[in-house]
């Protein structure tokens, strides 16, 4: 018993360090850019970071579940793109005829519906045919990619309606220097100088991201769904013997992943007033990296939503900070690559300890 306790204590300290390193690293980055980068530390820029990272974050949230399950979903990037082009076309068709709030609701519902299909196919093929997730989702990557380009006909679809862009870019509230607050719309009738002093708070991508972070965190830590995700990732055979419906659960996790990716596609439409087959794929590797930096094990069974949020923030702060410092954007790739290797190193140290 005594020896067991000492071993636990040592593992505990390593575990705490490996858990804390990403927080510490994020704080160091934040301090560094706040001091060295002029304009980094401002409400507008911080909100920009959140708004810019929301697409990567939504993809990473779903990927967290998939990776904890012991899988990998590389199709989500093009699922985002496919959803964005379909939703963009539907908005162009409906927006002139229907009230805007209804169009927004329909857009998200269509996005979710588009998201269900790739996830369902991924999950069913992985469980029924016992094909490795990488291969199945590689196939889906190709299908969603092709479908996206066919629907957009090779060129991004832009929506010629200003209202749509406002939904993705306006803030929940605007505070004037006088203390007056307006909701949803910037205050009217101000001069350009007065306007520049108005502070906007809570953009739509920020609100949506935070709501989905909270939902996913709740789902993973508080529900049977989350518990079974960890159980299957930890020991699939044990989960099966314990009566957990492993195949059904796996399908649901892949559907969750592709629905979150499709939601990112809808968000893209409202933020950029356009849909593009390439909307999501450039972010795929970063989103997987964010999950890994957040402490998830690519062997399954380990990972948290908070970790993924920290991982996403680290990547986004590096990208945003380097731009503000005026450093060649290509250095971002190197910086993020170095962080991934640090993450793997810390993880190894933890296992060895």
């Amino acid at each position: 018993m005594v020896s067991v306790k000492t071993r636990n204590r040592r593992e505990l300290s390593w575990k705490d360090l490996s858990k804390a390193w990403s927080w510490i690293f994020l704080c160091v980055l934040f301090l560094f850019f706040s001091i060295s980068g002029n304009g980094f530390l401002s409400i507008t820029n911080i909100q920009n970071i959140f708004a810019d990272m929301s697409f990567m974050l939504l993809m990473a949230l779903g990927q967290t579940f998939v990776i904890i399950l012991g899988g990998l979903d590389i199709s989500v990037g093009y699922t985002t793109g496919m959803a964005s082009v379909i939703v963009a076309q539907i908005i162009i068709a409906l927006a002139p005829r229907l009230p805007l709030p209804l169009v927004v609701v329909i857009a998200f519902l269509v996005g979710l519906a588009v998201g269900v299909l790739p996830g369902l196919l991924n999950g069913v093929l992985i469980t029924r045919l016992s094909v490795p997730p990488f291969i199945v989702t590689l196939g889906m990557y190709g299908i969603a990619r092709g479908a996206g380009f066919i629907i957009e006909n090779g060129l991004p679809i832009s929506i010629p309606l200003q209202d749509i862009g406002r939904i993705g870019n306006n803030n929940l509230l605007y505070i004037q220097p006088t203390g007056a607050i307006t909701f949803f719309q910037p205050p009217q009738g101000l001069t350009a100088v007065q306007m520049s002093n108005v502070v906007g708070l809570f953009t739509m991508p920020l609100i949506l991201s935070l709501l989905l972070v909270l939902f996913c965190h709740w789902l993973l830590t508080r529900t049977r769904f989350g518990q079974h995700t960890y159980a299957i990732g930890g020991n699939k055979e044990a989960a099966r013997r314990a009566g957990i419906p492993v195949a059904r659960h796996t399908v649901l996790v892949y559907i969750l992943s592709s629905c979150l990716a499709a939601t990112a596609g809808v968000l893209y439409v409202f933020r950029f007033s356009s849909g593009a087959a390439e909307a999501g794929d450039p972010l795929l590797i970063d989103s997987i990296a964010a999950v890994a930096i957040g402490g998830a094990s690519l062997f399954g069974g380990e990972g948290t939503i908070i970790g993924t949020l920290i991982g996403t923030l680290i990547i986004s702060v590096i990208q945003n900070g380097l731009i503000i410092l005026g450093i060649d954007p290509f250095w971002q790739f190197i910086a993020v690559g170095v962080v991934i290797i640090i993450a793997v190193f810390v993880d190894r140290m933890r296992i060895r300890a």
């Binding site: 067991v4 049977r224 055979e237 044990a238």
Partner: protein, 255 residues
Amino acid sequence: MPEKEPVLQLDGLSKHFGGLIAVNQVSLTIYPGEVVGLLGDNGAGKSTLIKMISGVYRPDQGTISIDSTPVHFSTPMDARKAGIETIYQDLALCENLDASSNLFLGREPLKRRLGLFKELDRKLMQSEAHTLLEQLDIQIPDLTRPIRELSGGQRQAIAIARTIYWNARLLIMDEPTAALGVPEQRKVLQLIRTLRERGTPILLISHNMQDVFEVADRVIVLRQGRKVGERLIQETNQNEIISLITGSEQKGLHA
């Protein structure tokens, strides 16, 4: 003990694999609160027999009765629903989850939050786990740590405790001490005694004759698929059992 009703009764159970008769007309009875050792050389039919009891194989002949009612298992899940729990050497625990999560694996209790959302009742899981492990005298330093940080014996104890919590009518243990160090083996044997006092019958398969003699009330010996002997522990000794296992003594087909 014979005045009690048997928990498990096998009548003329047989299993063939092609021309090979793995288990041949085996009958046995297990009563409440009894630890029965099942002994035999490799290939004597021990595994095939317990796989029939635990629903992995279907018998070609004979009947299995639980509480004097004949049962037919198509899957291991059927056997578990009937209260037969089997603890295999590979444990079937999730090492990334904590002790209470493993106890409730696949059967997690839920509570309603705001009358709408169903959440895990972790408080209940923790308190039930705490009570159960205390009853069984199993010491786990921290119930919230993943069980990979525990010793092999502690993990074995959690696997056993899980079956107890879910009211196993009969516990089948396949080589429960095989992968453990000596102090851990003692702990598991102690746990078997505790379970026996609680009235849970155990069918214990082991190569370790000493273990069997320490905790079993009765031993049943298989050789070449047949039951070749059945002895009360008090009325036998290791030499006699060894000769039954190896077949160097042909007497004593009836106990």
